[in-house]
């Protein structure tokens, strides 16, 4: 078996020499040996990755586009020779944002499909259900699509799990600080999803403006009647509402506020704020009352990635090219940019894990080199042996029509007592073909 593997590996290496010349990224450290089937999910010619996303149900709007973006990125990457001559085989399954389904599809991915790693699994309640399973099986659990602290603040308990996006507490801190400085007289109401997402965000925001908060209302995902919650915020006299909610609840809260004639300053955290999506959700309603994203006009939000309304941003241009060449139906959206950016970090990790990656080697690579990686993400990651938290910074922007304009530049912080400080780094340059070129740090 080993002999056979070595024989095929030799021919594979010969075949991908050309890819290395024009791609630049693929085979940088490939001169030290040949490709081997070094771990579960890795063959000489392929790497199998798995993911779970809500493709149907209440969380599907927007989120279901994330894996299509990642898929497009991997397809274009594969055309350029993949990672060290291995094509990425990306399998994503629908869990409908239901933790019971998540357990089932992730077990299927790990035990039947035998993936090398899980990448970008989405959702706090959903991914919590598989956290123990993945860590006890020793399956790398990269870049969870959620800003919960669970993924990164305790690497001893969960050594295989890594966060990716800015955590909700850091986001809450940055939002709270911004309100304290720019809206010191605002009476703030909180509109929170009733789980870790809302709790983490609330904890962060209360560190800065606890005395300004007049009400905190929670909704349960799946219960689409938010009338009582919005009415309570209105009754409490909140003239500034911060929402830590998913996109469909942005639409629902706007709709309910319209019904009540309630018009506070809205601030939606990054998760729920995509103006295009919210506009599409609202676009069928009658007589042009809610014709487009105009309802969100003037709302504030946060960013940790470039967005589609920045057509001059070189990352957006590159992602546009990738979507045009390798994507499926529909337009490039912020969710697809998210998926592509996550795929980009995944490729950085795989490159850093060396020519013949192992599951443990992949974890070591991220801990060793992850904090150095640059890419589309606005601020650096916090990866180390002691922290598996993702990026730490955010900018703040205001929605105007269907676009956004920046009102506060990128700021950095961390969980706990960490101060908020301005980020002075430059935006990273886009590598050729949008493919990173990281050195191996394990072999």
């Amino acid at each position: 078996m080993t002999v056979l593997a070595a024989a095929t590996a030799a021919s594979t290496l010969a075949a991908c020499g050309g890819g290395g010349d024009d791609g630049g990224g693929g085979t940088s450290s490939g001169d030290s040996g040949s490709n081997e089937a070094s771990d579960i999910g890795i063959t000489e010619t392929s790497i199998k990755l798995g993911a779970h996303f809500p493709l149907t149900g209440v969380a599907a709007p927007g989120y279901s586009e994330i894996p299509t973006g990642a898929q497009a990125y991997f397809d274009c990457l594969n055309e350029q020779g993949g990672v060290n001559g291995r094509e990425i085989e990306y399998i994503y399954r629908d869990d409908a944002y239901n933790p019971t389904n998540t357990s089932q599809v992730v077990q299927q991915l790990v035990l039947e499909d035998e993936v090398f790693a899980i990448v970008g699994g989405l959702g706090t309640p959903t991914h919590s259900a598989v956290l123990d399973f993945l860590n006890s099986e020793g399956v790398p659990d990269l870049f969870v699509s959620s800003g919960s602290l669970l993924w990164g603040d305790d690497p001893e308990t969960n050594p295989y799990t890594f966060g990716w996006q800015t955590d909700y507490t850091s986001e809450g801190k940055i939002i709270g600080d911004y309100i304290a400085e720019n809206f010191p007289d605002a009476q703030v109401g909180l509109f929170l999803q009733d789980d870790d997402f809302g709790e983490d965000g609330e904890a962060g925001i209360r560190e800065y403006i606890d005395d300004q908060i007049v009400a905190a209302e929670r909704y349960t995902p799946g219960n689409t009647n938010v009338g009582p919650q919005i009415a309570a915020l209105q009754a409490a006299g909140a003239d500034f509402v911060v929402g830590f909610n998913v996109p469909s609840y942005t639409a629902l809260s706007q709709l309910t506020a319209l019904q009540l004639g309630y018009d506070p300053q809205w601030f939606y955290s990054n998760v729920g704020s995509d103006p295009t999506l919210v506009g599409n959700l609202l676009n069928n309603f009658s007589e042009g009352q809610v014709s487009d994203a105009s309802l969100l006009d003037g709302a504030l939000t946060t960013d940790y990635l470039p967005t589609v309304d920045e057509p001059d941003n070189p990352w957006v241009q590159e992602f546009q090219r990738i979507w045009d060449e390798c994507g499926g139906e529909g337009e490039l959206t912020n969710y697809r940019i998210y998926g592509m950016s996550q795929a980009y970090t995944t490729v950085q990790a795989l490159q850093a894990a060396g020519q013949n990656p192992t599951r443990d080697g992949l974890v070591e690579a991220i801990e060793t080199a992850g904090s150095e990686w640059e890419g589309p993400v606005l601020a650096p990651f916090r990866y180390s042996e002691d922290s598996h938290m993702g990026t730490a910074g955010m900018s703040i922007s205001r929605v105007t029509g269907t676009t956004t304009e920046e009102v506060a530049p990128v700021q950095l912080t961390d969980i706990g007592d960490a101060e908020i400080e301005a980020y002075d780094g430059e935006p990273a340059e886009v590598p050729e073909n949008g493919i990173p070129d990281e050195e191996s740090v394990v072999d």
């Binding site: 009647n225 009582p228 209105q234 009540l260 069928n284």
Partner: protein
């Protein structure tokens, strides 16, 4: 005070929506003695048909009519083709079949229309009425829902109480043998019952959808609440269904609005209300006779 008014009005409108759905369950129960769990999926299917028509340029009202007609056809066809095979057997068989239909139809909708969220238009406004300086949580759309449900309830009461068809339907449901001996064409009555119930269900589905978002499973929570409302009202009485719907809608709205973290307690509260009512009055609030086995 303003909050109390708004929470109450929200509950009232939601309650009417539950009532609409409960009416469909009551209708099918009265005419066939089956609890139809597929009702929600069937209604969702017709709502998606209506949305497809509206998106291709039809008016809301024309689409509504087509949806109701397709609801009737769907109900009649399902009764003739599927449910007829298990009628007369153990009661549980029919119920399980409707559960299977519920899943199958929902999957069918996802295949045909996709599973994404879509907003559903309403012919009336979504902004609350202005009272003094404030807008209240009562919109022209809420008014439309309430009026439509009350008219439907009136028609159902009239159908069962004052028409020969209604009498024949009830007879077929109660005692097939006896009804047949008396000259009632039982098979036709059962088909008619399913068809009419599907029309009411379809109407409920469209009323619920108006000004909200629909996706293949959007009726799921309403099946539960609609069922609770119907049972509260005795499962046999159109007026009971509406009263049950209102009680449930108001109670859940108060829980959601005034209990800390109330939104998470809504489903549990529905269960508690159901249990309490069944303990106190096992036949439901509007049960006409206690001797009947339900």
């Amino acid at each position: 005070m303003q909050q109390f008014v708004n929470v109450t009005l929200t509950g009232l409108t939601e309650g009417m929506v539950y009532a609409a759905f409960a009416l469909a369950l009551v209708l099918i129960w009265r005419s066939t003695r089956i609890v139809n769990f597929a009702q929600g999926s069937m209604a969702a299917a017709t709502a998606f048909i209506a949305l497809a028509l509206i998106q291709s340029g039809w008016s809301y009202w024309a689409a509504l009519v087509v949806a109701l007609v397709s609801g009737f056809v769907l109900g009649a066809v399902i009764e003739r083709v599927v449910v007829r095979r298990v009628e007369g057997g153990p009661e549980l068989n029919a119920v399980i079949v409707t559960l299977g239909l519920f899943v199958a139809i929902q999957a069918g909708i996802a295949i045909v229309f996709g599973s994404s969220f879509q907003s559903f238009p309403t012919p009336f406004g979504l902004q609350g009425f202005q009272v003094g300086d404030n807008r209240i949580a009562f919109t022209p759309t809420s008014l439309y829902v309430i009026v439509a449900v009350l008219i439907t309830m009136g028609l159902l009461v009239a159908l069962f109480r004052f028409t020969r068809v209604g009498l024949a339907m009830r007879a077929s449901a109660f005692g097939q043998e006896v009804a047949r001996l008396l000259g009632v064409r039982v098979g036709r009555m059962l088909t008619l019952g399913w068809g009419l119930a599907a029309v009411v269900g379809s109407l409920a589905g469209l009323l619920i959808a108006g000004g909200e978002f629909i996706y293949p499973a959007y009726m799921d929570s309403l099946i539960v609440f609609g069922f609770v409302a119907a049972v509260l009202g005795g499962l046999d009485s159109p007026i009971g269904a509406v009263v049950g719907g209102l009680i449930l809608g108001l109670a859940l709205s108060y829980v959601s609005g005034y209990v800390p973290r109330g939104s998470a307690l809504v489903n549990v509260s529905a269960l508690v209300i159901l249990m309490v009512v069944l303990l106190v009055r096992p036949g439901g609030l509007f049960a006409s006779s206690t001797a009947r086995r339900a």
